[in-house]
């Protein structure tokens, strides 16, 4: 790599700060709404394309509510980073081991009357994101998401 590629003149390294934000919330549903608002403001400030912002907003709503409703978590942290080619999100909670990706996909072939109300959130998240992964790490459930910018 050319030395100047890393920073300014004279080899002094200037960190290329990627836009990011971090929040930690309890599992009160009203706090999920706060994350949605904060993410919306972040996306607007950094000119995240609407389609990316909307998709990530859906995934945040689904996964944070999962953590709040089904998990035994006391707190959830949210890390968002805008990279050159993608928007990355890491959600981490201190609940008992729970991998939402293990949930069976809903039966989308059912008619209106047969359709159960619910059970769609994780399916939506997997489909609407470009990358979704789960890890159990240091006693926490960690979900990483990515949506490509183009």
């Amino acid at each position: 790599m050319h030395p100047r590629a890393k920073g300014g003149k004279g080899g002094h390294i200037v960190a290329q700060m990627r836009p990011s934000f971090r929040m930690t919330i309890g599992t009160d549903p009203t706090q999920v709404a706060g994350v949605g608002r904060a993410f919306g403001a972040f996306a607007e400030a950094h000119k995240v394309p609407d389609a990316v912002r909307r998709s990530v907003s859906v995934a945040l709503d689904e996964l944070l509510n999962n953590s709040c409703a089904h998990g035994s978590a006391g707190e959830v942290s949210i890390d968002v980073e805008l990279q050159t080619d993608r928007l990355s999100v890491t959600l981490s909670d201190d609940g008992t081991p729970f991998n939402p990706l293990d949930l069976a996909a809903p039966d989308l072939g059912l008619s209106l009357d047969e359709r159960p109300i619910g059970g769609l959130g994780v399916h939506l998240t997997r489909q609407i994101m470009d990358e979704v992964a789960y890890q159990r790490r240091s006693g926490r459930n960690v979900i990483t998401l990515a949506k490509y910018l183009s």
Binding site: P29, R54, V58, D61, E62, P106, G109, L112
Partner: protein, 112 residues
């Protein structure tokens, strides 16, 4: 989220503006319940200003469709003006197959 309702040719048009998610779906559910209580039998949902929808919002729409009796164009629920993301969520969830979705208000009201 803002919710507004109007009537046109005996069809109740309810417009959701903003996001329809876990935070706003209780208000949307309330609005929908009020419409049904008021005797609405044909409802068109105006999604023109709907930014995004999550499964909590889909749940409200599914419940409304069931109460209005039936799927597709013969039922009492029609939707129009979906943006790309909302349309994608409808496709992924299979809702585009069980609900009647139109591009414009005029198309949605035609023959309703």
């Amino acid at each position: 989220m803002d919710i507004s309702t109007r009537t046109r040719d005996r069809v109740t048009i309810v417009a959701f503006a903003g996001s329809l998610d876990s935070n706003t779906s209780p208000a949307a559910q309330q609005a929908v319940d009020d419409l049904l209580k008021g005797g609405a039998t044909k409802v068109a949902v105006d999604c023109t200003a709907l930014d995004y929808i999550s499964s909590a919002g889909l749940r409200v729409l599914l419940g409304l469709a069931k109460k209005l009796g039936g799927a597709g164009a013969s039922g009492g629920l029609r939707l129009f003006g979906l943006n790309q993301t909302v349309g994608e969520v409808f496709e992924i969830s299979g809702f585009s197959k069980i609900l009647a979705v139109f591009n414009t208000e005029a198309e949605a009201l035609k023959g309703f």
